[in-house]
Amino acid sequence: MFRNQYDTDCITWSPAGRIHQIEYAMEAVKQGSAAIGLRSNAFALVATLKRSSSELSSYQKKIFKIDDNMGIGIAGLVADARVIAKYMRTECINHRYVYDAPMQVGRLVVQVADKSQIGTQQVGRRPYGVGLLVVGSDGTGPHLFETQPSGQYFEYKAMAIGARSQAGRTYLEKHFEEFPELGLDDLIKHALLALRETLSTGQELTAANVAVGYCGLQGGFTILEDETIAPYVDAVKGTPGGPPMEEAAPEEAPPAEAPAEGAMDTE
């Protein structure tokens, strides 16, 4: 690995004005398999590509329900994501206790970002190694946000994070203008097609390795996986485009797929 004397902790600047530990944490997000988020006027939706560590293992879950009106899709360290999910769930339930109403999605995202930032500026702490796509709806409509290990957050019409997510973003950039008016089924179709762009050579979408979470204006965060996502996966099968198949030319510079030995798995 490339090491230098300025990357041992988050509170040391490099002379070039960078904080390497934060950048390494952002790298953990890129190592995790992709998550795609998009929204229409009535729905916010996240789709994830799941990995299994072996033929014998199950696929690692990457979508978490936070509250009736909110959920997250993640890329990076699942263990860190679970910590953040627990925090978000606690905040949501406290909000319901005090106000008898669901939380504003954007306000919770700001709290998560603030919490993430603390890990980038204190001795003895580390940044979270996970990026989130937060989808939900509230009094101001459906929303899609991204949070990063650095503590930055953004609101999007459509976004992709994780491994090979650039291909997914390219797909979304081409199609996002039609999203606002689309129904749920069409949105899911676009999410799966964008997700398909992020597959590596020879890989394909199956009901087992895809999950979709969505939320409508009336709340009710729902996760589609396995048999409930199967019809959608089948529906996009014949659609042209997608990842390079065996006969297609390999990517020019395949990203380092396998992390170094002993590294933590990112999902």
């Binding site: 005090v98 106000y99 306000r107 509230d138 101001t140």
Partner: protein
């Protein structure tokens, strides 16, 4: 109790000082009307005769809060709401507390304070209008809350509520509702020694939330029963 407490002991508000009286409120077709009188009493003394016990609150001033009980506790409540509204304004995300959310939040505060044995000594009424829905609710100093079509606090719960039950309909016009409300406040002025004839009426409907300038209720003291008094009944009653 306090006489026995050492000089340094922490003491709490165990009784209200300057108090407001009843709050009476009712829904009508398309809105809510709320009435309070303008008196704040110091014990039985009519100490402040021209205070307002209701206010439009929240970031957009689209929620009406009216209070009886300790006037300074009501003022503190307004201050807390104002701080909360400023924070919400700073967030600048297009969301603002609804009447329902405001009501639940204030009730949590009331309950928290009663649990510290240091209550905010108020009965509050909250009214709002959002997404075509009228909201009317109340809470007391113990943190008990409920929503209703008609609400009367304080002595009004005994003397105005029966009148409201008799006269109220869901399809009342604003004029009918105003008449019923004024009749209730008039009866309270006749029979409640801590009430005054000057009242504020607050209105919440689709067009927003307003508090009227004080108006003076017409009164008539020459009723034969008033003149004759109740002495002949032999029970001290009127």
């Amino acid at each position: 109790m306090q006489a026995h407490a050492p000089e340094s002991a922490f003491t709490r508000t165990t009784n209200p000082l300057v108090t407001g009286g009843s709050v009476v409120a009712l829904k009508y077709a398309g809105g809510v009307l709320v009435a309070t009188d303008t008196l704040a009493s110091y014990g039985s003394l009519a100490r402040f005769e021209n205070v307002c016990r209701m206010s439009t609150v929240g970031m957009n001033h689209d929620v009406l809060l009216a209070a009886g009980g300790d006037y300074s506790d009501y003022q503190q409540m307004l201050k807390m709401i104002d701080i909360r509204a400023t924070q919400e304004f700073a967030l600048d995300d297009g969301a603002a507390l609804s009447a329902s959310e405001m009501h639940h939040w204030l009730t949590r505060i009331l309950y928290q304070r009663r649990s510290k044995m240091d209550p905010l000594w108020n009965q509050i009424v909250i009214a709002g209008f959002r997404d075509g829905q009228v909201y009317l609710g109340t809470s007391d100093l113990y943190g008990t809350m409920y929503t209703e079509d008609i609400i009367a606090t304080g002595l009004g719960a005994h003397m105005a509520l029966p009148l409201l039950r008799k006269g109220w309909r869901a399809d009342m016009s604003e004029a009918e509702a105003r008449k019923l409300l004024e009749d209730c406040m008039r009866v309270l002025f006749y029979r409640d020694t801590r009430a005054s004839a000057n009242i504020n009426i607050g209105k919440v409907d689709a067009s927003g939330c307003t508090v009227s300038a004080p108006i003076k209720l017409e009164t008539f003291w020459e009723h034969p029963e008033f003149v004759r008094g109740g002495g002949h009944l032999g029970n001290g009653s009127w």
